[in-house]
Amino acid sequence: MSGNVRPRGGFAERTVNGLLEAMERAMLAETNAAGTGWLQRLDPRVKLAGLLSLVTAVAMSHRAEVIAALFGVGIAIAIASRLPLSTLLSGVSLATVAFSSALALPAIFLTPGRTVGTVPVVGWTITAQGLTTAGYLVLRVAATTTLGFLLVFSTRWAHVLKALRAFRVPVVFVVILGMTYRYILLLLEAARDMFDARRSRTVGPLAGRERRRLVTQGAGVLLAKSLHLSGEVFLAMQARGFRGEVYLLDDFVMARTDWIALASCAGVALAAVWAGR
């Protein structure tokens, strides 16, 4: 889990931990997507269109209170869909918001405008425009990250891809995305095993040059494996009759609740754009 605390060892440990977290995150998303919450029951096309319209509304809004309201809508949807709010907030949104807050902090002092205060000792002036722009940045990041993760945590990746077809994304690109995701998991495992195996045979600290060589050789081996695997996958696809044309089973059916949800999301997004203009 992203919330688990692992010791921060050397570069190999950090790499292995990063790879493990990515795998666990993918599995967590798939598990949550199989839940029975409000969002999980919706047609993936509705979720994609609805949540993207809310993200666009956040981006287009020129008023902080409207962006904050859209962030609240995202939290309310997460609660209604029984998504793990603590994981969402602590592991995902909080990290992104903390990063953006650190980036936004200097803007409070650097943005020219009406002075509203001075930092004691250092004498830096705080401007109203600086506070506003920092607020915009942090709120926008918080809202869009939360809305983006609502989609991922409530929809199987295969369904997200199939929904992309509704937006006229070329079918070959959809297939590439699907196959990439599948093989990411395989290569993550291969990379983790490779680093684990090397770590288990390493006694004592390595010199900087040796560590760099270990990583670049690992990447080289993984590259050769990937390309070798692509040849094997191609042969397997050919054996199953693949001749370069891709077909997807398009079996989504819109129910009345889907239409209501789509209309609600579009209505909220339009209202937010109007109110935040």
């Binding site: 570069f11 650097l110 915009y136 926008r140 990447a219």
Partner: protein
Amino acid sequence: MHVPDGYLSPATCAALYAGAAPFWFVALRRLERTLHTRLVPRVSLFAAFSFVVMMFNIPLPGGTTGHAVGMALAAIVLGPAGAILAISTALIIQAFFFGDGGITAIGANCFNMAIVGSLVAFVVYRVLAGRAPLDSPRRVVAAGLAGYVAINAAALVTAIEFGLQPLLFLDASGAPLYCPYPLSVAVPAMMIGHLTIAGIAELVLTGGVVAFLQRTDPALLAATAGRGVMAIAGNSAAASGGLRPLWITLGVLLVLTPLGLLAGGAAWGEWQASDFSDAASRQAIAAASLGQPPPATPPRGLERFSSTWTAPLPDYAPPFLRSAPVGYALSAMFGAGLVILAITGIAALLRVRQRAGTADDTVSL
């Protein structure tokens, strides 16, 4: 460098989606022509590889670590079209699944890293590698520099996108709506990190993997090596042909070195202790220093250390030669010869160490 949502205006995001679309279209068409049915598995697996390699912590000189994007590696192995599609695919999955880069900013991230990065990497690699054989050390240097230049080019484009936001998008009170930092802040802030840590991470990864592939599977480097490149170095025409222009240029420069005698006076700051007591030299120093007169006595440190080492060929004029131009040319040949000798020695030493390293690997495995 992954731009999150909220940093760029919707108009900028839309413009960058529009800017990226033709590149995606052309790359897809070109790959369909060259790879046919192999397109899907080849691009997918390489995109998966790019995704995973972006997570590697790369140890850097100085004890820190950094992450690379792998855009130059993709451009070298797959070519620019393959790299554009593979890196774009990895970035899209990162944005959707891991929140690394915003959903509205997918077009911007793909434009900066997958398109600008891959194309710059490919051009730099091809120009620097020239027609060197596939196993030439020159290709390793070219690959490393391609990675370094590419990630910095991508960072610069990103910084410009950030820096334009406060110029174009303000609310009624004048507060920036998106990224608040102007170009004067965004460019240095982005470039300092990329010229140092991220650039070196990309250089280490690209150069290291290309060196590894040269030893284990050089065929993977053949696709973008250019026509007529020999696979193995040695007495090949390509190898000698590649270096011949460099030797000719060096020879011409050596012959032209007496031209340096035409330049009068001394270079600024390269004064001797005795110049401070000579009236003509003092005037020359003052004229070269915007009228600022030099101190009455030579600086104590200069006086103390100026006699520590006496050059064997002082002022590029060997004492046993009366002709200044001949002495100048001879000094140039002597200096160039010493440099070539030193580099040959270092290269021989590195080859010996590399062979020893390969032997260590065999033992440890």
